[in-house]
Symmetry: C2
Subunit: 139 residues, 2 copies
Amino acid sequence: MSVFEKIFKQKGISLTASRLAVFNVLENASGHMTINGIFTAAKQLDPGLGLSTVYRTVNTLCSLNLLEKHEFPDIEAVYEKTAAAAKDHHHHIIDRDNGKIEEFSSCELDNLLRKIARQNGYDMLGHKIEIYGKKLQNK
Amino acid sequence: MSVFEKIFKQKGISLTASRLAVFNVLENASGHMTINGIFTAAKQLDPGLGLSTVYRTVNTLCSLNLLEKHEFPDIEAVYEKTAAAAKDHHHHIIDRDNGKIEEFSSCELDNLLRKIARQNGYDMLGHKIEIYGKKLQNK
DNA sequence: TTGAGAATGATAATCATTTTCAAATATAAA
DNA sequence: TTTATATTTGAAAATGATTATCATTCTCAA
């Protein structure tokens, strides 16, 4: 059973066909997915699926901290599994030339952020890092 | 003459009363401003001002890299001067309990980000850092 | 099997933002 | 200055993403 299913069952939220279809798409997604991407893919699994249900399911997953919404300027919002649901934890580099999003991880960065939060009197619960850049030529 | 005015003049974009009113509000703002905050304040200076013009002016400032839009989940978007227009450069800590936004600066963090970008084959043009946290008790 | 509550899809409503457009204003040319 | 052209403006309409509504359909425990 998938992580999403496990948590829903645990919380007493029923595992309907619509929700399972959305889960399936999200759990097998390699990276970022837009609402419409999720909708289109999940509709293949559950043809009668409605867009409202996708929004509802996705919002529920977000409030359970299993999914995270990323909003970048001028780019359609994307969703992806949180560290709680996936193993890896990463951040984003957005290419200013073509809008492409790359990922990176850095423990050093995470530790520094935690330290900074503490210095400012906060216990860090989460963070969002976006680097905007331009691809280097000489490589 | 303010930075905004200087750049507009330099780019050949005319300095109309509406634009100067918006500039005035933004240049004298202490921190973050919402679109409606800007609109309300600038209307005092230029009573006939329309909301469309505020959006247009703010968008122009953003594309000139003089202003930056920050979008936080569940919070109205805010605008603030970029490092190019202001002297200081900072990031945000969002209090998960009350939604309050605090600011912090860290050269160490900026340098680390630049290094990470370079390691990933990018020249860093900008970045956005948000830490979500909970205020510590024992202080 | 049945009945109360939860979930659903279609549609309408909402909200921030953008576009349209005719009128007003600024700018340049003569 | 007068005139012609281009830019800017505010109001209103259009848009696009998201949320709310609501009648219908499903779930599942009794």
